[in-house]
C-alpha cells in the first residue's frame, strides 16, 4: 500500500471534553459550562493555527455516559446545552464511552488522516458513585482507555472541584491533574475552561514523547492546586 494519499487528507487535533453532568452539577456549575462552550468556539475560530485542525467532541457522564457532540469543527457546529441530573456519577461508563467515541470518531475521518494524540479534558465536581447495576471499580475501564498499546490512547487532563476526590482526579490524569481552589463553582468552571482553551492553543506544536505532546498551564496558577501524577514506567 502506497504511503501517498490519492485524496487530500488534512491533519486534525482531536479534543474530547468529558463533563460530569450528575445532579451535583445542577444550577450554576452546569450553566457555567454551557456559557463556556460558545467561548471555546470563538477561541478556536479566532486562532487559525488551531481552528484549521482542532476537532471537538463532548461526552457527558452521570448515571451513564453519552455523546453530546460528535467530533467536529466547532466553528460550524450547533452547540449542545448540557443538562445535569441524576444521583450517580459513573466513571466506568464515562471511560467506556470515551474509548469507543475516540476510536469511532477518528476512524470515521477516513484512512490516512493524520492526527495529533487525542486529549481528553475530564471535569468533575464529585466522587465516583455508580448505580447498583454498574461495576463498582472504574480502574479497568480507565486502564483500557490509557493502554499504551492502543494507538488512539489519549492524554487525559483531569480537573476536579467542589466535592471531587483529589486522589481520584490524580489517578484519572495521565500527566496533568488540577484541583480548583475556588469554592464558587462558577469561578472554578471558568478557570478550568480558560485553561482548556489555552492548552488546546499550544498543544499543536511538536514536543518530545516524555512530555506527552501536551503543554498545560493553568490560566491562573493561584486558582489551582496541582496534583502530582505518578506514571507507570514502560
Amino acid at each position: 500500500m502506497s504511503d501517498f494519499e490519492t485524496e487530500e487528507a488534512f491533519p486534525i487535533f482531536p479534543v474530547f471534553l468529558l463533563v460530569d453532568v450528575s445532579g451535583s452539577m445542577s444550577g450554576s456549575a452546569i450553566d457555567a459550562v454551557n456559557t463556556f462552550l460558545p467561548e471555546l468556539k470563538e477561541a478556536i475560530r479566532s486562532d487559525p493555527t488551531v481552528g484549521e485542525i482542532a476537532r471537538i467532541a463532548i461526552i457527558a457522564f452521570g448515571e451513564g455516559a453519552r455523546s453530546e457532540l460528535a467530533l467536529c469543527d466547532l466553528a460550524y457546529a450547533d452547540l449542545p446545552t448540557l443538562r445535569a441530573e441524576g444521583a450517580y456519577t459513573d466513571f466506568t461508563a464515562a471511560f467506556d464511552v470515551t474509548k469507543r467515541e475516540i476510536e469511532d470518531e477518528i476512524r470515521g475521518l477516513g484512512r490516512g488522516t493524520k492526527f495529533h494524540r487525542p486529549v481528553v479534558f475530564f471535569i468533575s465536581d464529585g466522587q465516583f458513585n455508580p448505580p447498583a447495576s454498574a461495576p463498582s471499580d472504574w480502574n479497568g475501564a480507565h486502564d483500557a482507555l490509557v493502554d499504551k498499546n492502543w494507538k488512539f490512547r489519549p492524554e487525559i487532563v483531569a480537573f476536579g472541584f467542589g466535592e471531587a476526590n483529589q486522589s481520584e482526579i490524580q489517578r484519572i490524569a495521565t500527566r496533568h491533574a488540577f484541583f480548583a481552589n475556588d469554592d464558587d463553582p462558577v469561578a472554578a468552571v471558568r478557570e478550568i475552561m480558560k485553561t482548556i482553551i489555552g492548552t488546546i492553543k499550544v498543544t499543536t506544536r511538536s514536543l518530545r514523547e516524555d512530555q506527552g505532546g501536551l503543554i498545560v498551564r493553568p490560566s491562573d496558577p493561584n486558582r489551582f492546586t496541582v496534583l502530582p501524577v505518578q506514571t507507570v514506567d514502560d
Binding site: F10, T49, L207
Partner: protein, 351 residues
C-alpha cells in the same frame, strides 16, 4: 500589522468530511494592495503568489517576528545554483505560519557542501525541537552544517557498500561536536536544548568510483524523496503515530539506533528531495501539492523559485517548511551536462 484577510468561500456543507472537495487554486493578486482600513492604519500587503491554496483555509494569520530572541532565524532563506560543475542544488526554508502567528522563530535549517578533494556532495535539512522555542534552531543550524562538513571532508570509502558505515561514523562525530559546542558555549543549557532531527544525502560527482549511487540518511522524522519523470517515491517508510510526538533526534545517547540509512541508485531519477516533517506530511497527504512541487522541481531552479514553491497555503499546514533538492548530472539521469551548461551565467535562469 494584519495582512489582508483572504476572502473565504462560504461553501457551507459538511466541512468536517475528509471527502470534501479541495479548493485548489492559484491566487495572483496583482500588486497585493488592499483598501485602507477605517482606523487609518496601513496594512501590510501580502506579496502576490502563484503557489496554490489547498483546502478550506482561515484568514487572519498575522505575521509576528520573534523580537526578543537574538538567535532567531530569518523568516525565509533560499539558495539555488551549481554546487559543482555537475551538480545543481536548490534549497529554501520558510518559517511556518504557526511560528509566525505566535511570534516565535522558525526552527528549520538546511546546508550543503562539496568536498574539495573527496569529490563528494552533501546536502542536509534539519528541524529543531518545537518545545525548545529559543534554542532548538541553534541545534538545527549546527547539525546540518556539521554533518555536511564531516561527510564531504573526510576520506571517502572506496566502495559504495561502505557508505552506511562511513555515514554512521560521521554522525557519531557530529553528535559529539554538538555536545562539545553546548558544553563550551551554552553552559547554562542542556544537550536537549539543541535537539534536532535531520536528513542528509551524500552523492558522488560524476566520475567518482562511487558514481551512480547516493546515500540517504536521517535521524527522526525528516523525509527523503526521489522524483522521476512523473513519480514521487519515498526513501524511508512514512512516520506513523500521532503528529506531535517526536521519537529520535540529535544529540542522542544512541546514534546507532537513531540513524537510518539507505543507498539509492540514481539512474532514472531527476532529483532527490529532502524535507523537514511538516512539508513531508503535506507531500504525503496532498496529491495537489505533489503535482505543484513536481512541476516546480522538474528541472533545476533558483532560490526565488524554491521560495515560491513552498509558499502554498494548505489547511492545517502551519509547520516550518524546508526542502533541499539536488539534481545530479549523470549520464543515466535526465538532466544532462548541456542543460546545466545553458543555465550558467551571471543572471539566474528564468523559469
Amino acid at each position: 500589522m494584519r495582512l489582508r484577510r483572504r476572502r473565504q468561500d462560504e461553501s457551507g456543507g459538511n466541512l468536517e468530511s475528509h471527502l470534501e472537495t479541495p479548493r485548489i487554486s492559484s491566487e495572483s493578486e496583482g500588486n497585493g494592495l488592499s483598501e485602507l482600513p477605517a482606523d487609518g492604519s496601513t496594512p501590510a500587503a501580502e506579496t502576490a503568489r502563484t503557489a496554490p491554496v489547498i483546502g478550506e483555509v482561515q484568514g487572519g494569520l498575522d505575521v509576528r517576528l520573534d523580537a526578543h530572541n537574538a538567535f532567531r532565524l530569518p523568516s525565509m532563506a533560499a539558495d539555488g545554483g551549481l554546487l559543482t560543475s555537475q551538480v545543481w542544488v536548490a534549497a529554501a526554508s520558510l518559517t511556518g505560519l504557526g511560528h509566525s502567528y505566535h511570534g516565535t522563530t522558525g526552527q528549520d535549517s538546511y546546508a550543503f557542501a562539496a568536498g574539495r578533494e573527496s569529490g563528494m556532495v552533501a546536502i542536509a535539512v534539519s528541524d529543531g525541537l518545537g518545545s525548545k522555542t529559543h534554542t532548538a534552531q541553534i541545534g538545527a543550524v549546527l547539525v546540518s552544517r556539521i554533518v555536511c562538513d564531516l561527510l564531504t571532508g573526510a576520506r571517502i570509502p572506496s566502495d559504495a557498500s561502505e557508505l552506511p558505515a562511513f555515514a554512521s561514523e560521521c554522525l557519531h562525530k557530529a553528535n559529539r561536536q554538538l555536545r562539545e559546542y553546548r558544553s563550551h558555549y551554552m553552559v547554562k543549557f542542556a544537550d536537549e536544548d539543541l535537539s534536532s532531527t535531520l536528513a542528509f544525502c551524500l552523492l558522488p560527482e560524476t566520475g567518482s568510483v562511487l558514481s551512480g549511487e547516493a546515500l540517504i540518511g536521517r535521524v527522526g522524522d525528516c523525509a527523503a524523496f526521489t522524483l522521476s519523470e512523473d513519480e514521487w517515491a519515498n526513501v524511508f517508510p512514512r512516520e506513523t503515530g500521532p503528529l506531535n510526538v517526536l521519537t529520535r533526534c540529535l544529540p542522542t545517547n544512541d546514534v546507532d539506533n537513531a540513524l537510518e540509512t539507505a543507498r539509492i541508485h540514481m539512474a532514472g531519477l531527476r532529483a532527490i528531495v529532502l524535507t523537514t516533517d511538516g512539508l513531508a506530511e503535506d507531500i504525503y497527504n496532498s496529491p495537489a501539492l505533489r503535482g505543484w512541487l513536481r512541476d516546480c522541481w522538474s528541472e533545476p531552479c533558483d532560490g526565488f523559485k524554491m521560495v515560491e514553491a513552498l509558499r502554498y497555503r494548505r489547511r492545517g499546514s502551519h509547520d516550518d517548511r524546508t526542502a533541499a533538492v539536488v539534481w545530479p548530472s549523470h549520464p543515466e539521469v535526465g538532466i544532462s551536462g548541456d542543460e546545466l551548461e545553458k543555465n550558467r551565467g551571471v543572471d539566474p535562469p528564468t523559469r
